[in-house]
């Protein structure tokens, strides 16, 4: 009988030692935090804001789980769930980082395509202005349109600078606006040309 109690006490002691000595997943936590920082450094907050926020929330939840387990009675303490959560955060953060690269590439492609379109629209407008009808488009009108195109042209280097600085979204807006304006001027000249043609018939 006495030896049975001994075994039981010994078993509980082993259990207590195993549970009580459960180590906090500090390495896993650091790895998950670093993975998030890497994703952010790649631009995740700008290009994938929702996913970045979710990563931060998942990390906070894992930290809460660690805190919960740390406060628990030693026999019932277990960091397995926290470890799983942290591993998931790390995996997700790495995925987000990869996603940022794809998103950035897509944004860059769009910005550059729009920049090219703006350059082409400006070139066309300038060519049209060079042969604009002098009758209808009086010198004052032509000078006004020249000034318009000059303003569009002035903005083009800034678009290139923004692309170089990887600020693709602002570059895209500027290129779109420049393209629309240059196309507008080209259309004005085309209309004037059509009118002149009509008069000559």
């Amino acid at each position: 009988m006495r030896s049975q109690w001994k075994y039981l006490a010994l078993g509980m002691l082993v259990l207590a030692l195993l549970a009580g000595c459960a180590k906090q997943p500090t390495e896993e936590l650091t790895a998950a935090q670093k993975a998030i920082e890497d994703a952010k450094a790649a631009g995740s907050a700008k290009y994938l804001p929702d996913e970045t926020k979710k990563l931060e929330e998942a990390l906070a939840a894992a930290q809460n789980e660690i805190k919960t387990q740390a406060d628990k009675f030693f026999i019932t303490r277990s960091y397995d769930k926290a470890k799983q959560m942290l591993a998931q955060v790390k995996t997700d953060a790495e995925k987000v980082k990869g996603g940022v690269a794809a998103k950035k590439e897509e944004a860059k492609k769009n910005a550059m395509a729009e920049q090219e379109a703006a350059n082409a629209a400006l070139k066309e407008a300038k060519a049209l202005l060079a042969k604009a009808p002098k009758g209808k488009g009086a010198k004052a009108d032509i000078e006004a349109m020249k000034a318009d195109l000059k303003a569009v042209e002035d903005g083009l280097p800034e678009i290139q600078q923004l692309i170089e600085k990887e600020d693709y979204l602002v570059a895209l807006d500027k290129a779109k606006a420049a393209k629309e304006k240059a196309t507008g001027v080209a259309n004005q000249i085309k209309e004037a040309m059509e009118k002149v043609k009509g008069k000559k018939k």
């Binding site: 009988m1 049975q4 075994y7 039981l8 078993g11 929702d50 926020k53 979710k54 929330e57 939840a61 809460n64 805190k67 919960t68 387990q69 406060d71 628990k72 009675f73 026999i75 019932t76 002098k134 009758g135 009086a138 010198k139 004052a140 009108d141 000078e143 006004a144 349109m145 020249k146 000034a147 318009d148 000059k150 303003a151 569009v152 002035d154 903005g155 602002v170 807006d173 500027k174 779109k176 606006a177 420049a178 629309e180 304006k181």
Partner: protein, 376 residues
């Protein structure tokens, strides 16, 4: 398993103890599930963050976050307790109340966002209207080219603001609207002083009196008179006080301004006379006017004394009505198509009165872009 040997069955105390411990591990050590409201509250927090509640309802959002954080800590504390003693109902109640609060904040945020969107869109439309108005005028004014670059920059920046607004980026839109306003102000600085002249009642009366004087002389003496309307780009030849012929004209590079000095590219305003006919001029044929007249000289001296003219600059001269085409921009002269200049040259003798005015044929005062015309 060693403890559950048939030997232990023989001792009821040991069996009881073992049974108790087994129950403890089987049932007591697994945590009860968290209230579902906890997950919903986290989803609500995300929704509020995504809706930019921190920007549109900062105080309410801060209060929500503080409460949620307190509940999170209470949840940790509750979960840390021995499973038998975990009690989530009070926390669930607080979470339900927090969720209700979150829904209200979300509603408020949406309302404020919509108001902000409408306000920004209205500001955009107002500025677009001002830009379009000035763009229209800039096509009528030779000086328009001076403002076009600023106007185009304003228009480009405003387009960018529109794109930002479409994406729901109100702050970005606001900063671009502010930039557009700066470009617009620069364009207005160039154009409004010119346009304002055409809304100046005193000046409009003065111009009319010069035109009336020239036409009266034509009627009284039975000869011809010329009225040049710079804004309407029209030269009207009067014969015996009646309008006889009208010609389209070109004016100075800064033609809508009153000429003050040599080289300003402005076309003078005043009552002049043809003092010489030049049958062979650089610009086909020309009628030389007596610019500067006495009034021009007085004004020149006055401005010079006030230091409003560059040092060493002269008053200028050799203002003519000449050929060369009406679509060009002159240094201050009035230009006509050669064929029409031939006709005018033939009809106008030396001594003919010439009234050059800002406008008399364009109607009353010009409403400025975006302004209503006054009734007085």
């Amino acid at each position: 398993m060693v403890l559950l040997t048939p030997r232990s069955k023989r001792n009821p105390k040991i069996s009881l103890c073992l049974g108790f411990l087994l129950s403890l591990f089987l049932f007591g050590c697994s945590d009860p599930p968290l209230p579902p409201e906890a997950g919903e509250a986290e989803k609500m927090a995300f929704a509020l963050w995504k809706a930019e509640a921190s920007h549109f309802a900062p105080e309410e959002y801060r209060s929500f976050e503080t409460t949620l954080q307190a509940i999170r800590e209470d949840l940790i504390r509750e979960r840390s307790r021995f499973p038998w003693f975990q009690e989530y109902e009070p926390i669930a109640q607080r979470l339900r109340s927090l969720l209700k609060q979150g829904e209200e904040i979300l509603k408020k945020v949406e309302e404020r966002k919509e108001a902000k969107r409408l306000e920004t869109a209205s500001r955009l439309r107002e500025l677009e209207g001002r830009i379009q108005g000035l763009e229209r005028w800039s096509f009528h004014l030779n000086e328009g080219r001076l403002a076009r670059r600023s106007l185009t920059k304003a228009s480009l920046t405003l387009k960018e603001a529109g794109f930002a607004l479409d994406r729901g980026k109100f702050d970005e839109a606001a900063s671009r609207i502010a930039a557009a306003q700066r470009h617009l102000a620069s364009a207005e600085e160039t154009l409004l002083p010119i346009l304002n002249r055409f809304s100046d009642r005193r000046l409009l009366r003065r111009w009319k009196s010069w035109a009336d004087e020239a036409v009266s002389e034509s009627r009284d003496r039975g000869n011809v008179a010329i009225v040049v309307d710079k804004l309407a780009r029209r030269l009207v030849l009067y014969k015996e006080g009646r309008s006889y012929k009208t010609f389209g004209i070109g004016i100075g590079r800064n033609g809508l301004a009153d000429k003050l000095r040599a080289g300003d590219g402005a076309t003078p305003e005043g009552l002049y006379r043809v003092i010489k006919k030049l049958p062979s001029s650089r610009y086909h044929k020309a009628l030389l006017l007596n610019y500067p007249n006495e009034e021009d000289r007085r004004e020149f001296q006055r401005l010079k004394k006030l230091g409003r003219l560059p040092k060493g600059v002269g008053i200028g001269g050799l203002i003519e009505i000449h050929g060369g085409g009406k679509d060009g921009m002159t240094y201050g002269c009035v230009s006509l198509e050669d064929r029409q200049m031939d006709e005018l040259f033939h009809l106008v003798p030396v001594g003919t009165p010439v009234a050059i005015v800002g406008t008399v044929f364009s109607g009353a005062a010009i409403p400025l872009p975006g302004e209503k015309q006054s009734d007085d």
